[in-house]
């Protein structure tokens, strides 16, 4: 039964230090790059009060808040998380509804994604990703026996997820919708959902995505911009063509930290969605491959922690860990794919690195939960009760 448990870590360690370090390295590198990418735009903008450190200071505060939240989240046993799962998910849905209410939700650039909390703005869709992981894992763990039934196993989950998806598309936040749908589908898949139903669901989703894309000029526009950015480099292809130029300029070793030209008002969203392009220009292929490798390592570790938990028959924890792996993996893949012109522009940030308080906070808590699962796995292996 325990034959596939691999004690990869020194069993004397209480938690996965390497994983923690990788996350920390990504966050600090992200902060440095956010500063580099935003320094020129922040200095020139009236909105930031012409302070070059405007985004740096905020990102540092977000990281500090995130680390404190992570320390607190790490103390919470998985049992508690599981019992809280439906409630967290409910709160998430409530927040997504609030966002859509005029005067409650804040609208920026035609999208209603934020709740104003006075000192900071909250982006519920970021927290919804974590809540979706918890809820889908709890649901699947609770209804293991019914997973092969469409009516009792799949339909309730599908209904809830369609509701969430509908709310997200009303904002609109297509990126978050794709990530949350991926999380839910992956957890159902891992939880042993009937293969035929699953294949049908995947096919249905693809058809649904296509319908969504073709039905909205806004999404159509984003799709076709990525196919050939050079056909309309000053219109639809503007952002992507500049991202690609940044990659090309970076070559093997980059133009040097701080020396990016693209960030000088050419590349929009350089400090958020297109942070990787600035990394590519300033730190070169070496920098890009390092970041890709760190994320790959992080995702692989999350899967491994999930499998360890599964081996220990901690199914909820196993699904949460792998759900987090899918979340971070899918979001990273999409963000990077968008930066490199492989995928249409989505409006997804690079986890742990891009500027954004809600995203950083949600990512920190997710990593803390991952470390908690690993911590409990280790405790179990040492014969201590979780």
């Amino acid at each position: 039964m325990l034959n596939f448990i691999k004690a990869e870590r020194n069993s004397s360690a209480e938690f996965d230090e390497v994983l923690a370090w990788i996350a920390l390295i990504l966050m600090v590198l992200g902060m440095v790059m956010v500063y580099s990418a935003s320094i020129a735009t922040a200095e020139a903008s009236r909105f930031t009060g012409k302070q070059p450190t405007y985004f740096l200071v905020r990102q540092a505060l977000f990281l500090a808040t995130g680390l404190i939240a992570a320390l607190m989240a790490f103390q919470v046993p998985m049992r508690t998380w599981q019992s809280l799962s439906p409630w967290l998910f409910g709160c998430g849905i409530l927040a997504l509804v609030l966002v859509l209410i005029p005067h409650v939700g804040r609208e920026v650039n035609g999208a209603r994604r934020w709740l104003s909390l006075g000192v900071a703005n909250l982006q519920p869709s970021e927290f919804m990703k974590l809540a979706a992981v918890f809820y889908a894992a709890d649901y699947t763990a609770r209804k293991f026996a019914l997973m092969h039934s469409f009516k009792k196993g799949l339909l309730p989950m599908l209904t809830v997820m369609l509701l969430v998806g509908w709310l997200l598309l009303r904002e609109p936040d297509f990126g978050a919708f794709v990530v949350i749908a991926s999380i839910a589908m992956a957890i159902l898949f891992l939880g042993g959902m009937n293969g035929k139903w699953f294949a049908g669901l995947v096919a249905l989703s693809l058809v649904g995505f296509l319908a969504l894309i073709l039905s909205s000029p806004y999404r159509m526009q984003r799709i076709f911009g990525f196919m050939d950015p050079w056909s309309d480099p000053y219109g639809r292809g503007y952002q992507l063509s500049h991202a690609l130029i940044a990659f090309g300029r970076g070559e093997w070793l980059g133009v040097g930290l701080g020396a990016s030209v693209e960030k000088l008002f050419y590349l929009p969203e350089a400090h958020t969605d297109f942070l990787l392009a600035v990394i590519a220009e300033e730190l070169g292929l070496v920098g890009v491959v390092t970041v890709v490798a760190l994320f790959a390592w992080l995702v692989l570790r999350a899967f491994a922690i999930g499998r360890q938990a599964a081996a220990a028959e901690r199914y909820y924890a196993a699904l949460v860990a792998q759900g987090i792996a899918v979340w971070l993996g899918v979001q990273t893949l999409i963000n990077m794919g968008v930066n490199m012109g492989l995928l249409p522009t989505k409006g997804l940030t690079l986890p742990l690195m891009s500027f954004g308080g809600s995203g950083i906070l949600a990512n920190c808590v997710a990593l803390a939960v991952l470390l908690r699962i690993d911590y409990e796995n280790r405790a179990l292996m040492r014969g201590q009760p979780a």
Partner: protein, 575 residues
Amino acid sequence: MNYAASPVLALRLPLWRSRLLLVLVAGGFLVLAGRAVYLQGLNNDFLQQKGESRYSRVLEISATRGKITDRHGEALAISTPVKSVWAIPEEVQFSGQQRAKLAALLEMPPREIDKRLNDATAFVYLKRQIAPEVAERVSALHIPGLFQNQEYRRYYPGGEVMAQMLGFTGADDIGQDGIELAFQSTLAGKSGSRRVIKDRMGHIVEDTESIREAQNGSNLTLALDAKLQNLAFSQLKLVVDSNKAKAGAVVVLDAKSGEVLALANLPSYNPNNRSRLSGAQLRNRVITDTFEPGSTLKPFTISVAIEEGKVRPDSMIATAGGTFSIGHATIHDAHRFGDMTVAQVIQRSSNVGAAKIALGLKPEDMWTMFDKVGFGTTPRLGFPGAASGRLRPYKSWRPIEQATMAYGHGISVSLLQLARAYTIFADDGELMPLSLLRVDAPLVGRQVISAATAHKMRDMLELAVQPGGTAPQARVVGYRVAGKTGTAHKEENGGYAKNKYVASFVGLAPASNPRLVIAVMIDEPSAGQYYGGTVAAPVFSAVMGGALRMLGVPPDAPLEPLELPPAGAQIKEGV
């Protein structure tokens, strides 16, 4: 028992599904890494080229225009760096106090600043060509959205004194007139260029390469002597003003080298502020205008006669009666003296004498002399608009025309041509080439008359400025002066205007070894006096005297006061 229905078996998570997901995600990361290698390592040339077309720009680096100096290196035209203040109106933010300070510095009403900022969104000049120190104080105001450009502005320290000589440049730094135009290719530099990277706001963020260095224009050293020029201009101005003349011109030549040491014109203008200019102010009369020289041409006629052996200075000419009729035309002298020697014809400027001597000459010989001294030919100066004057072919000359041409009518020359022609008397028969630039190697002239003839002419020309001559006012204390007056009716509507005259004087000094040739022309003196001897000669005297002393030329005459003949006893020339 159905496998799927077994709760115990179903409670195991299918491990292969986890592995499948892991492989998919890992595969995705591998694709990303591969894509990065393609973009950054393999296809980067294409992308970099696309990038360059977005933000790489070739900048022009303006070359500084060469300086114009006088023969001693004193600056006559210099390019001074100035700044132009421009704004991106959208980005401009200033307090009321800053606005007031800016308005004061730019010497503009605050409302004008507001107007300019409101009329454009992306770019507007607030003020062009302001002094660098003012520009510095403007930038010290730290107004966002305000920028400055480096430009050059041509400045002429001499102002109106040598305006027509130097000319000026246009806004694009290209010579428009005078020396600035004549030597444009020398003075203008070759602008260079460099490649820079600009951010989207247009600020230069990186200098990538220098494509071509800017080559500054060469400096130009003129033959002009600034002190002498000032002297010539101020003396000319005195006389033009006191005689209420329409215009005036003076040119000073170095008799030994043909260099133009001074060249002044009136009316003039301030080249540093060229608003409301008239054509009269712009004209360089010395070089571009021609006039009928009148009696200043007599020495050339006499020279031909002496060279041809027709007369000697002491040959008697039948001038008694003071009139001479050829066909229906009659030539008059101003005074009746009885018969005169050839020398007296020059001294008293007798038209009748000159005409009679001329009629003893072949037209071809007279024409050859005029042609040899440069009349009717554009002087090789490269100066824009240099006039050639009019010298009709001798075959068409009628006797009356040959007679009047002997005393400078029916022929036109520029003052510069006239002054240069006199170098044959100053330089022992050699005609010197003209030069606007300083000449360092000695120049070789062209022999036109023999040295002996030249000496005889000089002796006769000395008589003309003595009491008993037409221009005792041309004398200079301490130096022997030789020269000739000219007074001519102005040509108007194909005939001669009755009361409009051009008074002139051409002379050289010191007569024993001439160093300078000076020619003066006063156009339409209208304060009563109009003879060359009374209007033009005083300018000559003042400039010649001052110039010789400036140049340190040793005196060749006793330093004693000169006496002028009593008023009314002045010998007038035939007009």
